[in-house]
């Protein structure tokens, strides 16, 4: 590694005029640059391989997967078929779990965005006693592990009849998504120039009108990041649903993990199931790369 770096100079942004010394270095530079490229290509392939393995496995028959590795499919693509997928889509339990995942993720995302936007606005622009102090509590809650809530909330939901239902899962996710959401939106809303709000207030706009017609439209980028991030977080969750959902309300992750016990013999369900569960996040990821990356980065330390 070090030798590579030693010889390598930046290939771009070389603003300084090239002195003779630099010109002499050029062949070495080119060599090290192609070494770096080769290294990164290898790393990229290593990163792709496990996922490609799952994908190809999901397209092979049970027998083929039991007797040989997925890489055999690279040389004999004839063994690939969508049979596992069509079988999976006929499995009513899996289809139900897929819709449960949607029914959990979408309402949670909406609830978090709405509730956090209201609170974020209040923390940024409304005046009330103890505001900063309460907001510090929210900041403190940023890193509270969900584990601490599992047991007490399970008891509470049991008493309220919410245990083992989709609304229960949604409520729990919403609560634990809020600290980050409020933090993000409050900070974003606070950046809105004070003059704009004051002008709106002078014009006699009520707080609700200012919130819905000024702050929300201006906050769109942050809200988009938050929504994407929150959606993926809930879509990908297993822990919360493992406890709070029952057989009828379980999302895809929980339905699939119950098949892990006989991993070897269930690969025909698990591989396409895993792909079914990750195709939505991947589509979201590619459609909203920028907001996604920003959301994840803003969420660091959460």
């Amino acid at each position: 590694m070090t030798t590579v770096q030693q010889a390598a100079a930046p290939s771009r942004r070389t603003t300084a005029p090239a002195p003779a010394k630099r010109a002499a270095k050029r062949p070495a530079k080119r060599l090290s640059s192609s070494l770096i490229q080769a290294l990164l290509i290898i790393i990229g392939l290593v990163w792709l391989t496990p996922a490609a393995g799952l994908f190809l496995s999901s397209l092979r028959s049970e027998e083929a997967n039991a007797s040989s590795g997925w890489w055999q499919a690279l040389t004999s693509p004839g063994q690939l078929s969508f049979e596992n997928y069509s079988a999976l889509l006929k499995d009513s339990g899996i289809v139900q779990a897929f819709w449960n995942t949607v029914l959990i993720s979408v309402p949670t995302t909406i609830a978090v965005v709405v509730i956090a936007a209201l609170a974020g606005y209040a923390f940024a622009w409304l005046d009330f006693p103890g505001r900063d102090w309460i907001f510090l509590l929210v900041v403190a809650m940023l890193v509270v592990p969900v584990q601490i809530g599992l047991l007490p909330v399970a008891k509470m939901f049991g008493a309220l009849g919410l245990f083992g239902s989709i609304p229960g899962v949604v409520l729990f996710h919403t609560a634990y998504g809020l600290p980050f959401a409020i933090f993000l939106l409050r900070n974003f809303f606070a950046e809105i120039p004070k003059e704009m709000l004051e002008a709106a207030r002078m014009d006699g706009g009520g707080e609700w009108r200012i919130f819905s017609q000024l702050v929300l439209p201006l906050g769109k980028p942050a809200i988009a990041s938050l929504a994407i991030f929150q959606f993926l977080w809930v879509w990908n969750d297993m822990l919360v649903a493992l406890l709070f959902a029952d057989n009828e309300s379980q999302p895809l992750t929980v339905a699939l993990q119950s098949q892990m016990r006989q991993f070897g013999s269930n690969i025909g369900v698990l591989a396409p199931g895993a792909f079914l569960s990750l195709i939505v996040p991947l589509v979201v990821f590619f459609a909203f790369q920028r907001q996604f990356v920003q959301g994840i980065m803003a969420g660091s330390v959460k």
Binding site: T2, A16, L40, M297, S300, V301
Partner: protein, 467 residues
């Protein structure tokens, strides 16, 4: 913490922040107390849903857990800190704590280091956006899907698990050409060969240089015979010269019947690529040889004397099956590997953002002054990147302490205890059969206490950014 990265446009900590509104000028001309009350009411309405949910489902559970952790499993008897002291005596919990410590020590450092190296390297290529995108992709998918992906990759059977397929491939290419026939054995009643304690076979009769010794084995299925194997009859009749022993190692079985036991029949094939040794009187190996495609071997350079011809145990060893990634010894490193597959992209992108925000002229100036790339990296890049590195590291420490799904999914049932971590143990104790909610609550509180430093850090940074 989350706000200090230059790559997060919405929440920069620059000096232009307008700050919260001034309580006095917030409402110019509003008449007195009634307006104040009205403003507070509005604030309460805006805040109510959030505070209700946070209070009931986050704050209250913390208080509840602290109290619950002071009671026993049934919840009726106050036991003080017994649950906490039990935590450090119960072997399963102790192992979970130890494994969590391993995670915290290795995963964040490895991830930060790898992210840093990759970020510096990607700066030098043109397709860095594509590369970052590829590395970042695993962040989008669930731990469950990643767990299934790696459970498959880590499969023990090299016919199925890609990692062991590669490991065995590398191992075999270093091992050279040696073959082995794990099922091979002598014919029942064979007096020529005797099996040693280590699984090797040696001639019962002592032989000397100039002898031809043909060794017949059975028990190799036709499908297990290498394609290169050729009939051994011709080589079996070749006489040995002085100072050498020769002969064939052959499969003493004629497909379709008709062969004579102990005799190299016309169609019987040799066993290729087997090691053969001549062993002297004191058990010293005097010569090595390897069989050819027709099973023939030559052991040369032998002094006069008596020897036994031996097929060492390696000839009968089962083939190398790769590494037991999901076994009790390697399960935690294996899961950390999967975790790195997911999170390296995060580390790379965050550090990469810090890198591209770095002042180029400083680097260029150092290079002009004759600093080599390593010096630039060590003395300038790393120190300037310290804030980004810190954010990645602290984020990873916090995440790693809470790791649950990946361990739950990847570790097969029998080794789950060997892979156990705090968050998983908390789950197992509370819900997964343990059903001890006192100890479970104590573990939850421990998890919370472990992230308190991060909490304090968050608050401090936030306050600093406000002032």
């Amino acid at each position: 913490m989350s706000v200090t990265t230059p790559a997060v446009p919405p929440v920069t900590t620059g000096g232009t922040r307008p700050g919260p509104p001034d309580p006095v000028s917030g409402r110019a001309g509003a008449p007195g107390r009634r307006a104040v009350r009205r403003r507070r009411l509005i604030a309460a309405v805006f805040l109510l849903p959030a505070l209700l949910l946070l209070g009931a489902l986050v704050a209250y559970p913390i208080v509840f857990s602290v109290f619950r952790s002071l009671y026993d499993a049934s919840g009726n008897t106050f036991v003080g800190v017994d649950n906490y002291s039990q935590m450090f005596q119960d072997p399963a919990t102790l192992r979970a704590i130890r494994n969590s410590a391993i995670w915290v020590v290795f995963a964040p450092a490895l991830l930060t280091g790898l992210g840093l190296v990759l970020a510096v390297l990607t700066e030098k290529i043109r397709w860095k956006t594509a590369f970052k995108l590829l590395m970042f992709m695993p962040m989008a998918i669930s731990f469950l899907a990643a767990g299934i992906i790696f459970r498959l990759a880590y499969e023990q059977d090299p016919q199925r698990g890609v990692l062991n397929a590669v490991t065995v491939g590398i191992h075999d290419s270093f091992q050279g050409e040696a073959a082995s026939f794990p099922t091979a054995k002598t014919r029942i009643g064979d007096k020529q060969l005797v099996q040693g304690k280590d699984g090797s076979y040696a001639t019962a009769r002592r032989v000397g240089p100039g002898d031809t010794v043909n060794l017949g084995l059975v028990g190799v299925a036709p499908t297990d015979m290498p394609k290169e194997a050729k009939p051994a009859a011709k080589a079996a009749r070749t006489p040995a010269a002085d100072g050498e022993l020769r002969g064939v190692v052959f499969l003493d079985f004629t497909p379709g019947g008709g062969g004579k036991p102990g005799v190299v029949d016309r169609t019987e094939r040799g066993l290729p690529r087997l090691a053969v040794e001549a062993v002297g009187p004191h058990g010293k190996v005097a010569a090595h040889g390897t069989t050819g495609p027709d099973g023939s071997y030559r052991l040369t350079g032998l002094a006069k004397g008596s020897y036994t011809v031996r097929l060492p145990a390696a000839d009968f060893a089962p083939p190398y099956q790769g590494v037991s990634w999901l076994g009790p010894a390697l399960i935690t490193p294996a899961i950390i590997g999967a975790y790195m597959w997911i999170w390296t992209g995060f580390s790379l992108v965050l550090i990469g953002a810090g890198l591209s925000a770095m002042p180029r002229d400083v680097l260029e100036a150092a290079r002009m002054d004759g600093a080599n790339e390593w010096q630039v990296f060590r003395r300038i890049t790393v120190p300037l990147l310290a804030p980004a590195l810190g954010v990645v590291f602290v984020t990873m420490v916090i995440n790693v302490m809470k790791v649950f799904d990946l361990v739950y999914i990847i570790a097969p049932g029998p080794v789950q205890q060997d892979a156990n971590v705090l968050a998983l143990q908390m789950w197992l104790v509370s819900f997964g059969g343990g059903n001890n909610q006192g100890l479970g609550s104590a573990l939850g509180v421990l998890l919370l206490l472990l992230v308190v430093p991060a909490m304090a850090l968050n608050i401090r940074r936030f306050r600093r950014s406000q002032s």
